[in-house]
C-alpha cells in the first residue's frame, strides 16, 4: 500500500515557474511585434538619412493612420471569427459620397459617408449573421460590387476644395496632425470596448464558440451584425481621412487591397484568424510594423520585387513568433 502516506493530505495544484525558454517564447508571443517595430526603428536610425527627424515620424504616422483605423474594425470582425474583405471598397464609397454631398458642407458630407459605411457593413453583417452566408464570400461580393458603386456615383477623381476637409487632412494641433489624433482616439475607444464593455466580451465569446454563446443566451446575431457595421463605419472614416489627406476623392484607386493590409496588421499583431481573441494594441503595432517596413524599403530605393519578398518574410516571422503553441 505505497502512496498511502501521501494520500492523507490533498496536494494543491502547484503553479511552478516555466522553464526559461518557454517563458521567453510566451513573452515573444505577446510582444514580438513591439520588439520587431523597435528593431526596425533602430535599423533605420542607423542606416536611413534623417529618419529620426520629427517630420519623418509625422509622415509615417500620417500614412499609417487610415490603415490603423480600418484594422481596428477588422480586428473586431476577426475576433468574432469573421472576416471583412469589403473595407477597401467602403473607403472608396465613402470618398465618392463625400464628393457628392460636399455641396452641403463638410460635416453633412462626412456624416453621409459614415452612414454609407454603416449601411454597407449592415448589409454584410445581415448576410453573415442573419442569412448565414460565409463571411469571406459575403464580403467578397461587397468588395466587387461596392467598388463599382463608388465609381458609378463618382466616375473619376474629384478634387476637394472644402477648407474644413483640407484642414483635417493637412493641419495639426501641437505638431500632431488631426488625422493621427483621430486614429489615436478611435484606437483608445476600441481598446475600451474590447477590454471593458459587455459587448467586447460577447464578441470574443461568439468568436470562440458560437453555439455555446447562443445557448448562453447571447444575442449572437445582433452582436455579429454590429461588428460588421462597426467595421464598415471605421472603413468609411478611414476613407474620409485618406481623402482629406489626398485633398481629393479618388474612388478608383483609394483603398485598393486595403483588406489585405488590414488583415495582415491584425494577424501580425497577434489576433488569431480563428477568432475568440482580440489584440487592439497589437493590431496598431502590426500596422505600424508594415508601414515602417514599406518606408524603409522605399527610402532605400529598393525595387518592387524586393519590397514584396521582404514583406513576405517579415509577416511570416512576426506571425511565427506570435503563433499559438501546443
Amino acid at each position: 500500500m505505497k502512496g498511502e502516506g501521501s494520500s492523507t493530505k490533498a496536494v494543491p495544484v502547484t503553479a511552478r515557474p516555466l522553464p526559461g525558454r518557454a517563458e521567453l517564447l510566451s513573452w515573444l508571443q505577446r510582444y514580438g511585434v513591439y520588439l520587431a517595430v523597435v528593431v526596425l526603428v533602430l535599423f533605420n536610425a542607423a542606416f536611413t538619412p534623417n529618419f529620426l527627424a520629427v517630420g519623418n515620424f509625422r509622415t509615417q504616422l500620417l500614412q499609417v493612420a487610415p490603415v490603423v483605423v480600418v484594422s481596428l474594425g477588422m480586428a473586431l470582425v476577426i475576433g468574432a471569427e469573421g472576416i471583412d474583405l469589403s473595407v477597401g471598397s467602403v473607403m472608396a464609397l465613402s470618398a465618392s459620397v463625400i464628393a457628392l454631398y460636399l455641396g452641403y458642407g463638410a460635416w453633412p458630407a462626412m456624416f453621409m459617408a459614415i452612414l454609407a459605411g454603416a449601411v454597407v457593413g449592415g448589409v454584410g453583417g445581415t448576410l453573415v449573421a442573419v442569412v448565414g452566408v460565409q463571411p469571406i464570400v459575403a464580403t467578397l461580393a461587397l468588395l466587387v460590387g461596392i467598388r463599382g458603386l463608388a465609381n458609378v456615383l463618382l466616375p473619376q477623381l474629384k478634387e476637394i476644395g472644402n477648407p474644413t476637409l483640407t484642414a483635417l487632412g493637412s493641419e495639426s494641433v501641437l505638431g500632431v496632425p488631426y488625422v493621427v489624433l483621430v486614429a489615436v482616439a478611435l484606437t483608445l475607444l476600441v481598446l475600451f470596448v474590447v477590454r471593458k464593455s459587455t459587448f467586447g466580451r460577447q464578441v470574443v465569446a461568439v468568436g470562440g464558440n458560437r453555439v455555446a454563446s447562443e445557448l448562453a443566451g447571447l444575442p449572437v446575431r445582433r452582436i455579429l451584425l454590429l461588428v460588421y457595421v462597426i467595421s464598415g463605419v471605421l472603413a468609411a472614416i478611414a476613407g474620409i481621412l485618406a481623402s482629406s489627406r489626398l485633398q481629393a476623392s479618388d474612388p478608383t484607386s483609394l483603398g485598393l487591397f486595403m483588406e489585405l493590409s488590414a488583415i495582415t496588421a491584425v494577424v501580425v499583431g497577434g489576433t488569431p484568424l480563428s477568432g475568440g481573441r482580440v489584440r487592439v494594441l497589437g493590431t496598431v503595432m502590426g500596422a505600424l510594423l508594415m508601414q515602417l517596413l514599406q518606408a524603409t524599403l522605399i527610402k532605400h530605393n529598393l525595387p518592387q520585387s524586393w519590397t514584396q519578398m521582404a514583406q513576405a518574410v517579415i509577416i511570416l516571422a512576426a506571425v511565427y513568433a506570435a503563433r499559438e503553441r501546443r
Binding site: 502512496g3 498511502e4 501521501s6 492523507t8 511552478r16 470574443v204 445557448l215 443566451g217
Partner: protein, 517 residues
C-alpha cells in the same frame, strides 16, 4: 514472441503544463488480458496519462514501454499501428462526416482498383452498429446524433480494429444501463482473447463489475495500485479524494436527501401550481407531443434510452431547439418558443449535454466562461463590473471545487470534469427559476458529484424547479421526486415518489425498441 505478462508500461512519467504538473513521475503497468481501472478526481491526470501512452503528448521525463520495448509514439496513428486503440474522453470523431465514414476512416474496404467501396462501407457499418444496438442511418452526419450514440460509434470504431490494447477514457459517461451492459460484454470478449483494456470511469460500481486491477491517481501522483477486488469502495473514495476514511464513511454514497418539500406528496395534484408547463412539444423525427410540468422545489427526472429525445426535450423547453408545435408556459406567462434568450429571461437555464461543442468557450479563461451568461446583469450601462464578476467567480470556484491554475487559466486546458463544473457555475450564477440539467455529473468525479447532487438538493429546497437528465440511474432514483420516461421522442409514462426505483424505470423503458426505419 512470448513476453512477460506486461503489455504496456509507464515508468516515472512526468508531464508539465504551464502552471500544472499533470503527471508527477507516475508509473503504471498494464498486464496481458487484464482490465485495468484508472481512477482519480477530476484533474488527477488520467486523460493526460492516456495521452502520453498513446503519443498525443510526449512525456517530459520517464519512459513508456510496450511489449517490453521502450517506445515513444509520435502520434496516435503510431500507437494504433502498434496495436493500441483508444477512445479519448471527449467523443473524438468528425461530426460533419457520416457515421459510416467515421467508423471506417483510415481503413475503408477497397474494391479491386484499390478504391473505396462505399457500398461495403455502409453495409459493414450497419452490421457493426447493429451489434452495439445502434440503429441509425449510417449515412447520417455523426454530429446529428446524441452524445450517447456518438459514444457507441466511437466504441465500435475503437474495438473493431483488432488491437492488443484498448484504452477507454470515460466511455460510459453518457451511456444507458443497456448500452453499458453491451459495453461490458465487449470488454469481457476482449479479455477472453487475451487483450488488455484500460478503463477510466467515475462510476465506481462499474469498476467493481468489470475491472481486475486498479490504479489511483491524485494530483498527478500515483497513490495506489493493486487488485480491484481487494480495494474496498470507501477506501477507494478516500484514496481518490485524499480524505480520511472516517470522513468519507460519514458521508455515504450519493448526496441526495431523496425527498423535497414538494417531493413529499410525490407531485400529486392539489398543491401550488407548476412554475413551468410544457405542452405538446413536437418536432419532426425528434419529439412527439411531449408534455410535462415542473413545480417549484421539485426535482423531475427524465428517463429514456439513447435517442429517446431527452436532450431534445430539454433543448425544446430552453428554446435551443425549434419545435413544430407545442407551447411552454413559465409562471403563467407563455414563452416564445425557439428563442434561448427569451427562455433565459423567463428564468430557464439549460446545462447542455455536449460540453465541448455547446458549452465551453475554449479561447476564454475560466473567469470569462463562468461570467458569460450573467454578463448583462454583472454590468452597468454596458460596462462590465470586474468587481462583481470576480466575486461570483470566486464564490463558485470554491463552492464547486474547480481545479485550475487560477481564474485566468484557459478553460480549454482544464480537465473534462472541471470544465463541466465551470459550466454548472455559469448557470448557477444566473440564479434561475427552472434548471434543466442534461447529464450534469457527466465525467464528474465522486467527490464533486456529491457536491453537485447536494447542490441540486439545496436548490430544490430553495424552491427551484429542476429537470434532471442523467444516464446514471442511481442518480435519477435517489435524486428525483418524479420521473418522466421517454421513448422515441414520446412520453412513455411517469413514476411518482415511492414508485420511483431502478427496476420500475428499467421495466418502463427497457422494453425492446422496434428498430426505427
Amino acid at each position: 514472441m512470448a513476453t512477460t505478462g506486461r503489455v504496456l508500461e509507464a515508468a516515472g512519467v512526468l508531464k508539465v503544463f504551464p502552471g500544472v504538473r499533470a503527471l508527477d513521475h507516475v508509473s503504471f503497468t498494464l498486464g496481458r488480458g487484464e482490465v485495468h481501472a484508472l481512477v482519480g478526481e477530476n484533474g488527477a491526470g488520467k486523460s493526460t496519462l492516456i495521452k502520453v501512452l498513446t503519443g498525443v503528448y510526449q512525456a517530459d521525463a520517464g519512459q513508456v514501454r510496450y511489449r517490453d520495448e521502450v517506445v515513444s509514439f509520435s502520434s496516435p496513428l503510431d500507437a494504433r499501428r502498434a496495436g493500441i486503440s483508444t477512445i479519448y474522453q471527449e467523443v473524438n470523431l468528425v461530426p460533419s462526416m457520416s457515421v459510416a465514414r467515421n467508423l471506417f476512416l483510415g481503413r475503408e474496404p477497397r474494391n479491386r482498383f484499390r478504391l473505396i467501396d462505399f457500398g461495403a462501407v455502409h453495409e459493414r457499418a450497419r452490421e457493426i452498429l447493429k451489434e452495439y444496438g445502434v440503429h441509425v442511418d449510417v449515412r447520417r452526419p455523426l454530429g446529428s446524433l446524441g452524445m450517447g450514440t456518438q459514444q457507441m460509434v466511437a466504441l465500435a470504431r475503437a474495438v473493431s480494429v483488432d488491437a492488443q490494447v484498448v484504452i477507454m477514457d470515460e466511455p460510459t459517461s453518457s451511456l444507458e444501463p443497456r448500452e453499458v451492459g453491451r459495453l461490458f460484454e465487449v470488454i469481457r470478449g476482449l479479455r477472453d482473447q487475451g487483450r488488455s483494456v484500460i478503463y477510466v470511469s467515475h462510476r465506481l460500481d462499474e469498476l467493481y463489475q468489470i475491472c481486475d486491477r486498479v490504479t489511483v491517481l491524485r494530483d498527478g501522483r500515483l497513490v495506489h495500485t493493486g487488485r480491484m477486488a481487494e480495494l474496498e469502495r470507501l477506501r477507494l473514495v478516500s484514496l481518490m479524494l485524499g480524505r480520511k476514511l472516517s470522513e468519507v464513511r460519514a458521508e455515504g454514497a450519493t448526496k441526495f436527501s431523496g425527498s423535497h418539500p414538494q417531493g413529499e406528496q410525490g407531485g400529486q395534484d392539489g398543491q401550488d401550481p407548476p412554475v413551468l408547463t410544457a405542452t405538446g412539444l413536437t418536432r419532426r423525427h425528434l419529439l412527439d407531443d411531449v408534455s410535462l410540468a415542473l413545480r417549484p422545489g421539485e426535482v423531475v427526472g427524465l428517463g429514456g434510452l439513447l435517442g429517446a429525445g431527452r436532450s431534445e426535450t430539454a433543448k425544446a423547453i430552453a428554446g435551443a431547439l425549434r419545435v413544430d408545435s407545442g407551447e411552454v408556459v413559465v409562471a403563467g406567462v407563455p414563452l416564445r418558443t425557439g428563442s434561448v434568450s427569451a427562455a433565459i429571461r423567463a428564468g430557464i437555464s439549460l446545462l447542455p449535454e455536449d460540453r465541448k461543442a455547446e458549452g465551453i468557450v475554449p479561447t476564454l479563461s475560466v473567469r470569462e466562461n463562468i461570467a458569460l451568461a450573467a454578463l448583462p446583469r454583472l454590468s452597468r450601462a454596458g460596462i462590465v463590473s470586474d468587481r462583481r464578476v470576480d466575486r461570483i467567480v470566486e464564490t463558485f470556484m470554491k463552492r464547486l471545487r474547480i481545479k485550475a491554475a487560477g481564474p485566468g487559466q484557459l478553460v480549454g486546458e482544464l480537465s473534462g470534469g472541471n470544465q463541466q463544473k465551470v459550466l454548472l457555475a455559469r448557470w448557477l450564477a444566473m440564479s434561475p427559476k427552472v434548471l434543466l440539467l442534461d447529464e450534469p455529473t457527466r465525467g464528474v468525479d465522486v467527490g464533486a458529484k456529491a457536491e453537485v447532487q447536494m447542490l441540486i438538493d439545496e436548490l430544490a429546497v430553495d424552491g427551484l424547479a429542476v429537470l434532471l437528465i442523467s444516464s446514471d440511474l442511481e442518480e435519477i432514483v435517489e435524486g428525483c421526486d418524479r420521473v418522466v420516461v421517454l421513448r422515441d421522442g414520446a412520453v412513455q409514462g411517469e413514476l411518482h415518489g415511492t414508485e420511483v426505483s431502478e427496476e420500475a424505470i428499467m421495466s418502463m423503458i427497457a422494453r425492446p425498441v422496434e428498430v426505427p426505419r
